[in-house]
């Protein structure tokens, strides 16, 4: 049954970015920072990521960095 579960090595960066940046569980809670919605945009010849609104402070007490 496991013979087919080897992932094709041809998986592209697009496939990874489409999931890792866009999907996956997002939780809200105190003391958490997280990347907000990321749009894949096109700039020049390369896919770049919008840096606008990269981060949202999720609900709860303001994020206090340990710096």
């Amino acid at each position: 049954m496991n013979s087919v579960v080897v992932k094709s090595k041809e998986v592209t960066l697009l496939e990874i970015l489409d999931r890792v940046l866009d999907k996956g569980v997002v939780i809200s809670g105190d003391m958490v920072i997280s990347v907000a919605d990321v749009d894949l945009i096109y700039l020049g010849l390369k896919v770049l990521l919008s840096s606008v609104e990269t981060i949202e402070k999720l609900r709860g007490s303001p994020f206090v960095g340990p710096m």
């Binding site: 960066l13 970015l17 890792v20 999907k23 990521l49 340990p66």
Partner: protein, 271 residues
Amino acid sequence: MAENGQLVYLYCVVDSEPTIKQVEDSENNLYSICHNGLYAVVREVEQQEFGEEGLKKNMADFEWVKTKAGLHERIIEQVMSNISVIPFKFSTLFNTDESLKAMLEQYGQEFKAILRRLAHKQEWGLKIYCNLEKLKGSFLSNQEKILEIEDEIKSSSVGKGYFLKKKKDQLIERMLNDKINECSQENFELLKELSFEARINRLLPKEVTEREDDMVLNSAFLVDRDEVDDFQNMVDTLKVHYESKGFFIDCTGPWPPYNFCGLSNRKGQNE
């Protein structure tokens, strides 16, 4: 335990003790945090790199994102090689192990329910691309309606010909849309039959895919491990049928179940 100047980066949550093998480029600092029967696979990262300001800056650096996103994926894949995982979104960060435990406390029951649902299942992705010219060529030559209009154009005045040509173009466009919908729907429905859950995601533009052909379906399926063979056979059958008509069917997996871990009624899952 995160020290001053460090944050805790959460990759995934599992419900039995994960075998932590260090992944290349991960600086050998992966570990797990246990709370109430759940384990969070985490790594300490620098506040400077992943803190609010650093992250903002780094997210604009494509090379950085590429490397870190790849690492994120590899770490989760390593963990999921023998257990079900709840994958978290890129750069989910906590100040301390304690704040992460508080989150596990808050969402514990939901996570456990999600993991029960995901047991023995895999996510597979299916993207379909269409080469419009090739698709046109595959069916237009024997379309009576089109041939009729073409005949009519030949025997028409310039003005009438112009409108007939417009009519022809609209007709072709409609036919193309029908063919594309037919292909997307048939693929999605047949594979959904073999899946536990299925979802359709937004299409990515050419600027992002960097392909010549257009994406016409972006979908994900949660498949029982025992059904994966059937699922793949179906994909192969569909490929044989559609790839000669200008469609390219791209099936990838198994993926961490990024698309099937939605928390009930909470902000988080796109769409």
